[in-house]
């Protein structure tokens, strides 16, 4: 489905056709699911955040908060990233083995599950915003500009955030090496 079609779906949702939102979800869910999983570090939290994000996006469409200037996908990326950041802020620390079971567990291989856990552990000390910056640029493969647009900030601020986050990750790696060695 092209971006134009998605905009049409968005327009239909705005006019009160809630069912048209299904097409938006169907078309965007795979990328957004992966994004949420990488940001949250596990599938269960990702599902919650993604659902919150979609509900928020639906209300945004109905209320006319999507102005059509950006691609709908970009707008959704921003909403879902923010939903994840909100959830990360509220997240309470939990043990490594206490991962909550996912409700709609789809195509998530054992390897991917392990990778998510590693990613979560690696980024655990970062602030939610720094974590999101790292994931968008270094895991999702976005440019700094795209990541800045997604998180609603400037490229300069994003560069600063990335520098700080990378420095923190390197220091953490060095500390771990020193402890183990």
């Amino acid at each position: 489905m092209s971006a134009v079609d998605l905009r049409l779906c968005a327009a239909r949702v705005k006019q009160g056709d809630a069912a048209a939102f299904r097409q938006v979800v169907e078309h965007t869910r795979v990328n957004l699911y992966r994004l949420a999983a990488r940001l949250m570090g596990n599938v269960a939290d990702a599902e919650d955040a993604l659902q919150d994000g979609y509900v928020s996006a639906y209300r945004g469409l109905v209320d006319g908060r999507y102005d059509g200037r950006a691609k709908l996908e970009t707008w959704l990326y921003r909403i879902v990233a923010n939903a994840c950041i909100d959830q990360l802020r509220k997240r309470k620390p939990r043990g490594e083995e206490s991962e909550i079971e996912a409700k709609f567990d789809g195509l998530v291989s054992a390897e991917a599950r392990v990778a998510l856990r590693e990613l979560d552990a690696m980024l655990a000390t970062l602030s939610p915003q720094d974590r999101a910056a790292i994931v968008l640029v270094h895991v999702e493969g976005m440019t700094v500009r795209e990541a800045a647009e997604t998180l609603g900030t400037t490229e300069g601020a994003m560069e600063q955030r990335l520098l700080r986050a990378r420095a923190a990750l390197r220091k953490k790696g060095d500390d771990q090496e020193a402890t183990s060695g």
Partner: protein
């Protein structure tokens, strides 16, 4: 042929001869390994990105999202739609049969049967009110007489 032309021809030949040069996959891998080894954090992140690339939601996920959205539509705070809802719920309201006659009695000078009833209602109400007041007065007088008689009887008994 000048010297310059000779150089150009030679360079052109070299360009043509080397046009199909491609790095081997091994070289690409080795280069990437070297680059990534220099940046261990980025390397780890890239590997984790690769390992999570195939993640996809279950088919039931969309249904769950839609259920939440449709639920949120039902629970949505009252807004402009509230007026439509009120309009729908009040669409069947009808005035009582006498309403039109009462309105016509106010606006139409001509007399209809109900108009006449309405006009005669006012004096009827006055008569009824007067009668009720009269009943109250009679009742009060009777009570007063009864009380006086009771006192007289009691005084006679005491004197006896």
């Amino acid at each position: 042929m000048g010297k310059g032309q000779e150089v150009d021809d030679k360079l052109g030949a070299i360009a043509a001869a080397t046009e199909d040069l491609r790095p081997s996959d091994e070289l690409t891998r080795a280069t990437l390994d070297r680059v990534l080894a220099a940046e261990p954090v980025e390397s780890s992140l890239l590997q984790l990105g690769d390992a999570t690339r195939a993640i996809a939601p279950a088919d039931t996920f969309t249904d769950a999202v839609m259920a939440r959205i449709l639920g949120s539509v039902a629970d949505a705070p009252v807004g402009d739609d509230a007026f439509a809802s009120i309009a729908a719920r009040t669409a069947h309201l009808r005035p009582q049969d006498g309403f039109t006659d009462a309105i016509m009695a106010e606006v139409a000078p001509g007399g209809t049967l109900s108009d006449g009833i309405l006009r005669s209602a006012r004096p009827s109400l006055l008569v009824a009110a007067f009668a009720a007041a009269a009943c109250l007065v009679v009742s009060w007088l009777a009570e007063r007489d009864y009380a006086q008689e009771s006192m007289a009887v009691t005084a006679a008994e005491v004197s006896e």
